[in-house]
């Protein structure tokens, strides 16, 4: 019987921001939903995140930012993924992201942004619907 590969997700905390409550809750929620979860831990540079995503062969990257540096950090990750020929790995984000930044980030290639008040289940469903594990 062919077993479908489980979704592999990298949960990442870019930059110096130490707010990891949301990232850890999401990581647990993903694990409980049956995903394979790799959590980078805190204080990761965009280079480290992209390296981990490629090394771990993940299907999707979720980044959490709550200290205002999302524009720079999210963009940098997208840029480095493209440079490394890994632009096919979808990236979504969450945290404190002002409304006016969301359309810009989406236009630049962030697939979705989840802001405070989102249910864990809704993020899980979005990933299940949007991400198809690579063979």
């Amino acid at each position: 019987m062919a077993v479908k590969r489980r979704i592999r997700v990298l949960v990442a905390k870019p930059g110096l921001d130490g707010h990891d409550r949301g990232a850890k809750i999401i990581a647990r929620g993903f694990r409980d939903a049956g995903f394979e979860v790799i959590y980078t831990g805190l204080h990761q540079s965009p280079e480290q995140i992209v390296e981990a995503a490629i090394q771990e062969d993940v299907d999707v990257i979720g980044m959490s930012s709550l200290a205002g540096a999302h524009n720079h950090l999210f963009r940098e990750v997208l840029k480095l993924l493209a440079e490394r020929g890994a632009a096919d790995i979808p990236v979504f984000g969450g945290g404190i992201i002002p409304d006016e930044d969301i359309p810009k980030l989406k236009k630049e290639g962030i697939k979705e942004i989840f802001t405070p008040g989102t249910k864990v289940e809704d993020v899980v469903r979005w990933v299940e619907k949007t991400i198809h594990p690579r063979e």
Binding site: L16, D20, R21, Y39, L42, G68, D99, G117, V120
Partner: protein
């Protein structure tokens, strides 16, 4: 305890009430199957004199300003002096924050409180690659003494007290503050303020860490030792539960882990050979004011009682000032919602009221927009006015500890104490909090509590107005403060100019002396003051520390 022991009249009437209650709830079930606090403490329908039968007034409550301080650390509490209204602020450059300080002082604020940006908190200068996009974003950027001088321009350091919320580089910021004061002609024994300087809760919850736990403890004890001798009005550590709670802990965990951290600092300073009564009076605490009103009040009252007993019985302190748990409070950022943000004013007001009824010494009230961005001037003013309304209009300051003797509040206070002590004993069994942290114990307990709470919110077992009940589609847009990207480029340019202008030989020499001191066991504070006075930067100092002591990395557990 047998029912027959109880006074007859209460017993009879209570039996009648219990019967009526059972009948009533059988006919009309209560709204919820189970009533519990935000921390999931189950709460009963009614508390009576029986609930507090074991309470011994003199032993467990006492009088304000007297051991065990359950009713407050000061004899006359707010009738004598109100709490300090200390609003945390910091944004952009030192010049921007200096303007905000002048504004707040003009509007009746009585103490300053600095929020630093992430690079400063983590020991990086504004030009480090990891600082890109973060300079001035969630606080002020301080690279060198030159920035600290601009921050306090026009503010005399013998007229204000200043709280600096910073941890790994706390000793460096204290050194800069001393240097600014001395340049103003204010000697170090005249300045007053607080550095947070609480690394243990960083490993547990807030996660701005730099060095491993043991060298972090050494630097903290250096600051305690130095201030005890030279800066007697300085609060050397603000032992913080705030961030533990924000990371998702329960109220009991906040209380227990904070006091366990406090015990570890006292033990470390005693191990250095300091007399407990020489430094303990300058330790202060920092708690969260979350939304569950009575639970929070019980938490503060229990905190004072536990700490006084620990200091007297465990550390044999003799000075009553060593027994007192003095604390700052901040309302809970994590209780605020991005949805319907004006509701946050109401949440913050109730939280602030709990802190006041719990006997806080100083208070920061969050602004309604803090869940979205740094507060605007207008929203920061509303937050300050919230405190002023509590102080001047509500009448809650007229009498001391007005909730004492409440069957419910006293029961909850006892319960918080018992549960916190059980955690503290468990941590003692592990060999202390540093060992517990190395095992990931408090971190794991908090992550479990945070996940459980989120599940309850997602399942609508816990209600958040405007989020999982009474949500509305109407968008409320509020004007939020933006930090211009030019703050970063200008700060980087100022830093470059400084490095070109200063006497680099002196910087090198003082950094070398610091390195030698770090490798040995001499107190680092005098060396730090030498480096900052030579305009050595924060990162240059931290790089020396990182080289000598190594760095701490997040184990990435979830």
């Amino acid at each position: 305890m047998g029912k027959e022991d109880k006074p007859k009249t209460i017993g009879d009437k209570k039996t009648l009430w219990e019967q009526a209650y059972r009948e009533e709830t059988a006919r009309h079930p209560e709204r919820l199957e189970r009533y519990s606090t935000v921390s999931d403490q189950e709460i009963g329908a009614l508390y009576t004199p029986e609930s507090t039968e074991k309470l011994d007034y003199e032993r467990d409550l006492g009088y304000p300003g007297q051991y065990p301080y359950t009713r407050g650390v000061h004899t006359s509490m707010y009738r004598g002096r109100l709490w300090t209204m200390r609003m945390f602020s910091g944004l952009g450059s030192a010049g921007d924050t200096n303007q905000r300080f002048h504004y707040l002082l003009k509007h009746g604020e009585t103490g300053l409180s600095i929020a630093f940006d992430m690079p400063t908190l983590m020991g990086y200068d504004s030009d480090h690659p990891m600082s890109r996009g973060e300079v001035g974003k969630c606080g002020v950027a301080i690279d060198s003494l030159a920035d600290m001088e601009r921050l306090f321009e026009g503010i005399s350091l013998d007229e204000v007290t200043t709280s600096m919320t910073i941890n790994p580089p706390a000793a460096i910021m204290l050194a800069m503050y001393i240097a600014v004061a001395e340049k103003q002609g204010v000697s170090r024994d005249k300045i007053g303020g607080t550095i947070q300087n609480d690394m243990l809760k960083e490993f547990i919850a807030q996660k701005t860490f730099m060095l491993p736990p043991k060298p972090s403890m050494r630097i903290i004890v250096d600051t305690i030792e130095f201030c005890t001798k030279e800066v007697p009005r300085w609060n050397t550590i603000s032992i913080s539960g705030y961030h533990i709670r924000e990371a998702g802990s329960t109220a009991v965990q906040e209380l227990a882990f904070t006091l366990a951290d406090g015990i570890a600092y006292v033990q470390a300073a005693v191990d250095r050979g300091l007399d407990v009564d020489a430094f303990a009076p300058r330790l202060s605490f920092f708690f969260n004011a979350h939304i569950d009103f009575f639970e929070e009040i019980a938490k503060y009252r229990a905190a004072r009682r536990i700490w006084s007993r620990v200091m007297k019985e465990r550390f044999h302190a003799r000075n009553p000032r060593s027994w007192m748990l003095r604390f700052h409070t901040q309302t809970a950022g994590c209780s605020l919602t991005a949805q319907q943000p004006y509701n946050n004013v109401v949440r913050t007001a109730y939280e602030a009221l709990s802190a006041v009824l719990g006997g806080t010494q100083s208070l920061h009230t969050n602004s309604l927009d803090e869940v979205l961005a740094l507060p605007s001037e207008q929203s920061a003013t509303i937050a300050l006015r919230t405190q002023q309304i509590i102080a001047e209009e509500t009448g809650v300051t007229n009498t001391i500890d007005p909730l004492a003797g409440s069957y419910f509040v006293e029961t909850l206070t006892d319960r918080m104490e018992q549960q916190a002590m059980a955690y503290i004993e468990k941590i003692d069994e592990m060999g202390g909090v540093v060992e517990a942290i190395e095992r990931g114990y408090p971190q794991g307990e908090i992550a479990n509590a945070a996940y459980d709470y989120q599940r309850q919110v997602d399942d609508e077992k816990k209600i958040i107005v405007g989020v999982n009940r009474y949500a509305s589609d109407a968008e409320t847009s509020i004007e939020t403060l933006k930090i211009d990207e030019s703050v970063e480029t200008q700060q980087v340019e100022r830093l470059k100019a400084l490095k070109a202008k200063r006497d680099n030989d002196t910087v090198k020499k003082t950094l070398g002396a610091l390195r030698n001191a770090a490798q040995g066991d001499e107190n680092l504070m005098p060396r730090l003051i030498d480096v900052v006075k030579a305009y050595g930067t924060e990162q240059e100092i931290c790089d020396v520390f990182r080289e000598v002591f190594g760095t701490y990395r997040d184990p990435g557990m979830f």
